[in-house]
Symmetry: C2
Amino acid sequence: MKERQEAIKRYIERKSDVTLAELTREFSDWSEMTIRRDLEFLEQRRFLIRTKRGARIMPTSYEVSVGMYGEREKRNCDLKQEIAAKAAALVETDISMYLDAGSTAMMLARELPDRNLIITTSAPNIGIEIVLKKKNPTVILLGGTLQRKTISTCGLNVLDQLKTLNIDTAFVCASGYTDATGFSVGGQHECVLKRAIIASARRVIMLMDSSKLNSILPFTFAQLSDIDTIVTDSKAPESIKAAFRAAGVHVL
Amino acid sequence: MKERQEAIKRYIERKSDVTLAELTREFSDWSEMTIRRDLEFLEQRRFLIRTKRGARIMPTSYEVSVGMYGEREKRNCDLKQEIAAKAAALVETDISMYLDAGSTAMMLARELPDRNLIITTSAPNIGIEIVLKKKNPTVILLGGTLQRKTISTCGLNVLDQLKTLNIDTAFVCASGYTDATGFSVGGQHECVLKRAIIASARRVIMLMDSSKLNSILPFTFAQLSDIDTIVTDSKAPESIKAAFRAAGVHVL
DNA sequence: ACAACTTTTGTGAATAATTGACATGGTCAT
DNA sequence: ATGACCATGTCAATTATTCACAAAAGTTGT
């Protein structure tokens, strides 16, 4: 496969859905026809499917998440992308890591290096994404009841499952944070799971885009003292970042 | 949503990928323009995406499986569809059932009634499919290592997980069968899982299309005496069906 | 280094698909 | 019955896609 085709593939993987016009703008060194042919090529290898109106998307479990919470996936896409890229840089080889459910975690999954990793997750769609796209990581799915809203599992016996699993680094997502309430989420089950993960992981890295700062959700699962690092985006107010640092948390 | 739109949706859900020409032929009572408008309508509700060349597909976890073992999903599609429809008729309300991994099981998942069911499965893509498309069933995913080839989990502690789970009816797929060797599959892990399921379920229903009869795979997981019912397609030779019946197995 | 050949890319015409404006016919409340 | 409203169909205008071929770039053997 050519350099250009790889680039187009990567571009579409990021954007998920692009128009031909967009691509010809992006890859203006080549003609529309060439890009068309590349798309045909990529379609044959099942990397994407061509849609009408020049637009096309690539179909994997991405669609699974989009299918349900649709717009949310795209909202703040750039912020999440930034966070995912920064977080991926923290991943070492041969690490045993936990990856949370959620769209930010999905983006991190895509940015992950294709190396020997043990990735435990409660999000089956993220697990599938990794297994389909990368050759080297081992994915361990936590079992339990599959939640409709979050597409993540939660089981009464999560604790048992975690008992024999030694997680080095846990990447955890939060839906809200305030100084007073700590990190919170909307679901009770998620809350229990995150707590268990945080308790057992050696290092906890929180992923949270700036839109979630200063909002409160029903269930608090962690305080600043529970985490080691927080990865956020460039729009996060300096004041909050300073407060994080003051609490001894690394901020990226 | 209109009757016709529902029908188009169902049709596309079955075929996964159709051309406009195909649809106008199928729904010849209406004009192309109407069908076009319906597709636009359905696209807006995220039931499908429109592709070029009039062709369109609907994107959910279907893609997940196709993405990987591609052609296999489509091979013998009609046979598997027939089996899935017959098997779905065996599902009662409020049942606790197990659904195996595999393309036949995926089709059964699509045919399942949207009722109160507890569905345990080792195939996360099937679980997601159910949860996204149906409102009522509860899906329980078995945890474990996610296998790249089969997109199913297998864990050392499956037995523990099954211990607290009472499965009434298990729908199990086999990749091969001969009188001498019984039901067999290609993977050792699958084999162990299937055995455990069969041992714990009250009723075992085997799903196997006729192309798999008289073929042998490395690992045998069951004999005729272990199962209650076998669902196969109309191309299955009468002689084998007779042998099944002679062994006290119901054949559908 | 050169010619012969293959592969890739660009161009524009030919073809096909999609859209949009408008006409028709049906339903329903007034 | 009348007009508003909706679903549907028709056809023309627009736009996208393909096809055929030429130009350019890269490959190979001498």
